[in-house]
């Protein structure tokens, strides 16, 4: 039995090596260079220093905020310091939503007890009246369930409490299966006469931090305020409701949407030596939600793009095609930066790939490729990334900031 496995393993290793290494000319040609780039990257503290400057020194940076402007100037300065070419801002009008000073919710129990709940207004929400909204709470797990309640939700605060499915190893799939509640909860609540939407935070963790995120309204439906409740708060509230106790919540929010303001994407590049008009863009989004630091979402993606170009420059490597770093503005609540980048007329230029990093920094494991044809080209390069554990090349990719380019046929990574 052991011998059989030994033979199997040997055969497997041989097949694996011969297929991936010997048959991929790119791996033979570039492997030592790939290792050199990786060592330079790992050996420098530059990425972390930049991330600290962006997230700890500048801080959160929602579109239209003074910090967003600071972040734009910071990124431009970095690009200039590193010697990128053609560094410039590309103006874009962005939404200007502000949370305001008031954000509180109290659980009012029939006993007269009053307990504070940890909440955060969802991005885009309107305010409550200054005295707040006080109403009974009704819990649902889905829009279907809400529809079936008929008139029962009228006058109530609708509590959307379907958890992200944490049994899914791919947490983005779990996010995708729950985020409709955050995006459309307020509209769905208002349609059945609800007075506000309270949404379980989008996270698989059970903790006390409410997570904000984007929500939207439609013109044909009455606007009601919408806030996230922490997962622990949601579990607690659900437990009380399951006991048949009639619970009211007093909700006060001061959020408002001000007129659009001018902001910008930040762009810099290394010009290609042979085909400068063929462009590969690499980007992340510079804006972040107004609570927290935005280190993973998406400071890391911005830093990765800046650092990739800096490393090439540092090592004296000149790409044949132009590689362009793009710091997109307003991914979180509008996606205006991504749309504007793709819409801009760039005579003579052809984008041959758009790479976006917006899935968190963590330990990079590889690349997801948006289309089969690109996948077949890129997959054999996987072994070039093996020395630092990022060699998982998978089919399926894209990102919100590059999707407007994707719609124009640019391969997305």
């Amino acid at each position: 039995m052991q011998r059989r496995y030994l033979i199997f393993i040997s055969a497997f290793v041989m097949v694996f090596s011969s297929v991936l290494v010997a048959q991929s000319p790119a791996v033979k040609k570039y492997n030592s260079l790939a290792v050199r780039i990786a060592k330079e990257a790992l050996g420098s503290n530059n990425s972390f220093d930049m991330l600290e400057e962006l997230c700890a020194n500048i801080g959160n940076r929602i579109s239209g905020s003074p910090q967003a402007t600071k972040a734009i100037l910071w990124a431009k300065t970095k690009m200039e310091e590193f010697g990128f070419e053609n560094v410039h801002l590309e103006p874009v009008m962005v939404p200007h939503w502000v949370r305001g000073p008031v954000e509180e919710a109290y659980l009012l129990l029939p006993s007269g007890q009053r307990e504070r709940l940890k909440i955060a207004a969802l991005g885009g929400s309107i305010a409550t009246p200054p005295e707040g909204i006080t109403a009974e709470v009704i819990e649902v797990k889905s829009f279907d369930e809400l529809q079936k309640l008929g008139g029962k939700a009228k006058g109530k605060i609708v509590f959307f409490n379907r958890p992200m499915d944490r049994t899914l190893f791919q947490t983005f799939a779990a996010y995708g299966g729950a985020v409709d509640q955050r995006g459309h909860g307020a509209v769905m609540a208002a349609r059945v006469g609800g007075v506000a939407a309270l949404v379980r935070s989008m996270t698989t963790r059970i903790d006390d931090s409410p997570h904000t995120g984007a929500m939207g309204y439609v013109d044909t439906v009455n606007k009601v305020p919408s806030a996230a409740i922490s997962t622990r708060g949601a579990e607690y509230l659900s437990k009380i409701l399951s006991q048949g106790i009639a619970v009211r919540i007093q909700l006060k929010l001061s959020a408002q949407t001000l007129p659009d303001v001018e902001s910008a994407n930040v762009v810099g590049e290394l010009r290609g030596t042979e085909k400068p008009n063929e462009v590969i863009i690499m980007g992340g989004h510079l804006d972040s939600w107004d609570i927290g630091y935005g280190a993973q979402d998406d400071g890391a993606g911005c830093i990765q793009s800046l650092e990739a170009l800096r490393l090439l420059k540092k090592l004296g490597l000149k790409p044949k095609r132009t590689i362009r770093a793009v710091m997109f503005m307003n991914e979180e609540n509008g996606g205006r930066g991504g749309t504007a980048y793709a819409a801009k007329d760039r005579p003579g230029e052809k984008h041959i790939a758009a790479i976006e990093s917006d899935a968190g920094g963590f330990s990079p494991r590889g690349f997801g490729i948006g289309d089969t044809l690109t996948y077949t080209k890129v997959a054999p390069w996987g072994p070039l990334l093996r020395s630092f554990g990022a060699d998982q090349i998978t089919l399926g990719g894209g990102g919100s900031d590059i999707s407007p380019l994707g719609q124009k046929g640019v391969p997305m990574i």
Copy 2:
């Protein structure tokens, strides 16, 4: 070109699938079960709740401390609550080192300036005299360099400042390449007449946190105190020294080693239904350094072992062989628990594998197997772990708590 790659990829996928899936009977047989176990694990918050109880409620738990005793009782209670069999403590005498209340270092510049440095006594260090040790600092990067200084280090505080090589993707290799300074720095400093050892913290991060860890003395050499300095502090100190400035440091430590005390390993198991005397142990170490929470080192390893058995129990799965969870005591500064476990007479029992998790929790990526024979058996099971991304089965493994078993020929994972 594209077509060629498409064919290549298809061929590769076919070969890969056929070799790994079709030819490994274990994968066919157990895949749906593996997915079921993984889903149960991902779906429950039990691991995080346990980790919080151990690390946040009990806290740090160095051998001999009251918290170590609390952790032992906590682990035993958990095992009993989960219905493990044969739950018991296995007594072991452990070292009892205490940091004491005083721990400070000041940089004394020729200008008269006095700056506080962030330091932490290394585990096992003796104290300084109450008034501290004040002496000039001399920096070295290696023991060789120290030897070559001849008499120059006499009367001085020796500053060991060789960084972990952060260009190594395998950070344990980087750790291994620097940790001699922490373990033996005090002895090497004393040999050349040094009065104390100051060691750059073992981390690739540049930050202000000094990292403690184990150090040792030998009977034939004078004992001098030893402390870790934060990496940022080390960089700063090195910069000043590189300018040729004569720098003194005042170091005060109150650490001491008290007499050994009785402690215990915590053991519980699921008895095998067919071969109960063939035992697989899974373990982590319950003790942790006396600063910080010990969540990664090694709360996570303990929780993984407890949770693995709990999951089997919860799903009604009965192993053919006995699977035993062992919470080792005193990995950090003595390894007495691992030694005692292996030394204990267990009539009739045969250990067929020892699994240790002590490389941090993070996202599990797979298993390292200590010997080739075991590797050839286990490697084909990799695909069973693919649904949760832990399918990297690599050759090379072991761990400090299971190495005494390994020396007796038990396969280590």
